[in-house]
């Protein structure tokens, strides 16, 4: 499907936006880097450089050297900000506690999120990081960027900030790490007016919706994840920028049950592409896999000889619901039992494909906090069509929001509210009937609170009579 922008798109040209010349940007040699020392002693951080993996300390040192050699008149915050950042981190290692102060009223006018205030509590020692605010840049769906945009953003961030990024944060945004209060508004102006780029969500807002690569590159995608992500981002701008939720709210969209953005584990509303008809089977291709003419898993494990492909052992016996079999030399699937594990489709993508009647499964309530441990989402709507303008999905989402805003305590995530009030109450609110699949272990713990009106004929219960036979 062609991309239809909701507002005119600006074509960015790096040559028109650049702040530094190529010579200014390529300003140090590897030899110079070897001899380079930052202005603080950082023995513990240097330990981190010694392992086999790339180290953020090595990257930060490169940036420290790079900034020292950039033209000073085109740098709006201190050139040695990276030196002080590493210095303060070493101090935190020495003291075993952080030296960052978190939060504040810093932000851009009219936005309740997108900027996170950060201050050093030892500013006299590390003056360049006295203010070190973080800024979230709203990523496009599936994180497709033109190099013109990325290069212009890098130049802008050297100019108005520390030059350091997270590519990307867990919410999905590009995170610009560290600038002063004075630079926040000018940076926002340049981002929006020059780069045509908005900030992402933070605080008690809808966080920037995020999706997998979708139909852009992936044949498994059951839905147009990018279109849905873009639609939700633009439709819910007020929720993204002006906070009125009890806490954060994340929406993530996976195109198929492989779940490449792990929406099931880390979003309050998880939308996962699925199908409700049958898996498409190409029996000739099945035979080609069996005969060894097509490599299983698209050749992903071909670095080692695993022996001849064995469909019984590698696919049929591994089906979690046992719904596959070979009958008269043909592969058959009992689709009613399929629980969308995707294993058979991943192993034999040319023989098996998702069905054509596609939509989303919707799950609610996941969160991944560091201290308390993760909570997975609960499957709530097994299937819903997902076609533009997605009014059905929006209607459901708004019901959930209304309930959470009404009933949720301050700093209570949706998943915690569902646990506190119970899944039956949540289902009542959104008008979805309970199903066995929502129960964790339906065969061993089919425990349900029935209401009188749910049971034909109802019942009568005399508590006094009950207490005659059952002491408290």
């Amino acid at each position: 499907m062609d991309f239809k922008p909701k507002r005119p798109q600006k074509e960015l040209k790096y040559e028109e936006l650049r702040i530094y010349t190529d010579e200014e940007l390529h300003n140090y040699t590897e030899e110079e880097l070897k001899d380079f020392k930052i202005k603080h002693d950082i023995p513990d951080l240097e330990e981190l450089e010694k392992g086999p993996w790339p180290s953020f300390v090595a990257d930060a040192k490169r940036e420290a050297l790079h900034r020292k050699k950039l033209p000073k008149e085109r740098m709006m915050i201190d050139q040695d900000v990276v030196d002080d950042l590493l210095g303060q981190l070493q101090l935190s290692f020495d003291d075993g506690e952080t030296h960052w102060k978190h939060g504040g009223i810093v932000g851009v006018f009219g936005y309740g999120g997108g900027v996170i205030g950060r201050y050093s509590d030892v500013p006299e020692k590390y003056p360049s990081v006295a203010h070190f605010h973080t800024i979230r840049v709203n990523q496009p769906a599936s994180k497709f960027y033109k190099t013109d945009f990325l290069r212009a953003l890098c130049d802008l961030w050297e100019f108005r900030g520390s030059g350091m990024f997270n590519m990307h944060g867990s919410t999905g945004d590009i995170i610009l790490l560290g600038t002063t209060t004075e630079q926040v508004e000018p940076l926002f102006y340049d981002l929006t007016h020059e780069l045509d780029q908005d900030l992402g969500g933070s605080g008690s807002n809808l966080r920037t919706p995020s999706c997998c690569i979708g139909k852009a590159r992936c044949e498994f995608a059951c839905i147009d994840t990018q279109d849905l992500c873009y639609e939700l981002t633009t439709h819910y701008q007020d929720e993204l920028h002006r906070p009125a939720f009890p806490y954060k709210f994340k929406i993530k969209i996976d195109g198929c049950p492989n779940g490449c953005v792990a929406s099931i584990a880390r979003s309050d509303m998880s939308l996962i592409g699925t199908w409700r008809d049958d898996i498409r089977i190409d029996q000739e291709a099945v035979q080609a896999y069996i005969g060894g003419e097509i490599q299983p898993n698209g050749g992903a494990h071909s670095g080692r000889d695993w022996g001849k492909f064995d469909i019984q052992k590698e696919v049929i016996d591994l089906c979690p619901t046992g719904c596959m079999a070979m009958e008269d030399g043909k592969l058959v699937i009992n689709n009613q039992e399929c629980n969308r594990c995707m294993h058979c489709i991943n192993v034999m993508p040319r023989a098996l494909r998702p069905g054509t009647d596609t939509g989303v499964s919707i799950l609610f309530g996941a969160k991944a906090p560091i201290l308390e441990g993760a909570q997975l989402a609960v499957l709530t709507v097994p299937f819903m069509k997902a076609e533009a303008p997605y009014d059905n999905i929006k209607e459901l989402l708004e019901k959930v929001w209304d309930w959470w805003i009404e009933e949720g305590k301050n700093r209570e995530r949706l998943g915690e509210l569902i646990q506190r009030k119970g899944l039956p109450r949540f289902l009542e609110v959104i008008g979805v009937p309970a199903a066995p699949q929502m129960v964790k272990m339906p065969r061993t713990n089919p425990y349900i609170f029935w209401k009188e009106e749910d049971v034909p004929g109802g019942w009568k219960r005399d508590i006094k009579d009950y207490r005659l036979r059952h002491k408290r």
Binding site: T181, D238, P243
Partner: protein, 77 residues
């Protein structure tokens, strides 16, 4: 109605025990005075007050609170 809600918000922001408060506290305070005020109207009124530079957002990164401009922490520290 909108003006009444804005007035109730400002009254609460001036007299609340804490200088920074959650949206929910704001909502409860407004609804105590104007029971028919809906959440979305209160949010609209709060947004207008932010745009008029009477209210401010206070963000910890994970949570956002509201405050009266000039009350409590006013500088960026």
């Amino acid at each position: 109605m909108m003006e009444e809600i804005k007035k109730a918000i400002l009254e609460f922001a001036e007299t609340s025990k804490k200088s920074k408060f959650y949206f929910k506290d704001l909502e409860k305070a407004v609804q105590a005075k104007i029971p028919e005020a809906k959440m979305r109207d209160i949010k609209k009124a709060a947004t207008e007050l932010v745009n008029e530079e009477k209210l401010i957002y206070f963000s910890t990164g994970s949570t956002t609170m509201y405050g009266l401009k000039g009350r409590g922490i006013t500088e960026d520290q």
